[in-house]
Symmetry: C2
Subunit: 344 residues, 2 copies
């Protein structure tokens, strides 16, 4: 009998639940708005209802592998306790794993959304394309999430908080971050940061395109700025170059620390890849001797090492989180696996 | 029959070789000057001679577990090819592992010295003290080396170059580093950096203590500056505070990325721990929300997470490299072990 899993992508805007059979497409997906105004209990009832419908529908035909949940924001493992969810404040400190296990009577795997997106990208996106089992993925959205996959499984660190590369300090003493620090990558490479940097640039004057956009549409988005830049606006292009510089410096630190085969940049802002890629690669080459040694764009005669370090835009789109949640029951974390080996 | 290993610490100044029986002290150590002026072949003959003497002496009494070599600078694995050794230039690109295996007729494990020091510190230093099996160690010497140990074994990355945290970019566009980048940690937290920063501070004027030291002893060392700072010299103390700031920012990026239990600071400059520790901890707290959540100095009522992140000075001294080389044959790298599991 083939096995299946149920995955949930619990976002601040939408709640998506899917049944998935390994190696195939989604069997079925359910999408509901996350009714934040109704409070946590109402959302939990809807969530459990959707999971139970899918469990009931597919349990006869397939063997249940498990249920995986992707949540926004950091989570403490192995307890599965949510920490701070800016978009779902009444979920702070909530024991999500225990609560769902009690309600559904089945083991639940929980993971933050950046980690599951990285897992999906590794198994079915660029990881498969490049034939590698380890990668680090940066997700450029409202914030900058990130996940590290080592040999096919999420690297959790000691309590599930590994891979917060969005909070690598790029510019000490720089822009204030929501995390309390200054100069985090998130403040230079998220959709929010792009809009902030554009407003800052307009305030400096001599940026007619951005100033015009801001007058026409005071709450313009990163996509509006993307279109302006694509039309050749020099100051809008500068903003995306700043994104590239921050990404390049941060990727250099990741390459120097982790030495993985592949680094993937995803999330909504990654659609501006062509605009930030040149400066990102310039700064990565400048800031990482390990990258220079393994740069795949240099010929073998020039490179010193046999291995290559690839940087690529994500292949999977907005389904990555939901797919990753479905894949969770089919994988084991590196740390639990190593613990299971019980090596002295 | 108890097993033993032979370990080598191949430094730019000294060549140290030891026989070691697991769980005991060194059985015997041999120390020779690294006669760089005689060239690579002469050093290799001395090295192999010393290894063979120890192999012959202890092979009857103990079972040979293997031979481990610690080398300065990066190395490409699994080939064991040295890349760039600033202190041993005629060893660049040398196939150390193959060459020694051919000469000695026994398998050789090679690893860079920062990685083996981290391994020794994990097994017999602060790792044992704190009861953890994972740590990241920064070694503050002439440069800044670093090694990452995950569940008791060296994390190599794809080709042995992981853990080059000395080249995390702390200040983009900052001081020129030997690696070609600007603003690397190594340029703010090595013994070399301390001396450079002190000279820079003296040139700015109004630093009578450092200016006097430089006049009296133009080639003063980081230890001379340490003594000046310990005597209360304000500008010398400022230099060590700058070391602390750079370490704090870099540790924050490591904590946010790796989420390990323990980060150890070793190497000669770590003897100035009391001078740089306050600013290091200030900046770490400021730059890492994950550290703040898991700060062991906060009471359990204030901390959000059950787990704690420790920062500690190294316990093992200059023997860490030699001990780590001896431990290599008793451990397996995480990546090879994961490969051995052959997980789909």
């Amino acid at each position: 009998m083939k096995s299946f899993a149920v995955g949930v992508d619990l976002g601040g805007t939408n709640l998506r639940v899917a049944a998935y059979s390994h190696g195939s497409e989604f069997l079925e997906t359910i999408q509901l708005p996350t009714r934040r105004e109704s409070g946590r209990e109402a959302i939990l009832i809807e969530l459990c209802g959707a999971i139970e419908r899918l469990l009931a529908r597919y349990s006869g035909q397939f063997q249940l592998e498990g249920v995986g949940i992707a949540t926004p924001g950091p989570m403490e493992l192995p307890e599965g306790r949510l920490l701070i969810l800016p978009n779902l404040p009444d979920w702070n400190n909530f024991q999500l794993k225990n609560e769902l296990e009690a309600r559904l009577g089945t083991p639940i795997l929980v993971e933050n959304d950046a980690n599951v997106a990285a897992l999906a990208e590794c198994k079915y996106g660029q990881g498969r394309e490049y034939g590698v089992e380890s990668l680090c993925m940066l997700t450029l959205g409202t914030g900058v999430g990130s996940g590290i996959i080592l040999q096919g499984r999420v690297w959790h660190g000691m309590n599930g908080m590994a891979g917060e590369a969005g909070h690598i300090v790029v510019y000490p003493g720089g822009a204030q971050c929501g995390c309390g620090s200054l100069g985090c990558l998130e403040q230079y490479a998220s959709a929010t940061a792009v809009v902030r940097m554009a407003h800052e640039r307009a305030r400096q004057g001599d940026a007619p395109g951005i100033t015009h956009l801001a007058l026409k549409k005071p709450k313009f988005s990163s996509h509006d700025l993307f279109l302006l830049a694509k039309a050749g606006d020099v100051q809008a292009l500068e903003v995306f170059a700043a994104v590239g510089r921050a990404l390049g410096v941060s990727l250099a630190s990741l390459v120097n620390t982790l030495n993985l085969e592949l680094y993937v940049v995803g999330g909504g802002l990654a659609s501006a890849w062509e605009l930030f890629e040149p400066e990102m690669m310039n700064h990565l080459r400048q800031c990482s001797s390990i990258f220079r040694i393994t740069d795949p764009d240099l010929g073998d005669g020039q490179r010193m090492a046999a291995a290559k370090t690839f940087i690529a835009p994500a292949k999977l789109g907005s389904d990555a989180g939901l797919l990753g949640a479905c894949l969770l029951p089919f994988t084991v974390s590196v740390s639990s696996s190593l613990q299971a080996q019980n090596i002295a």
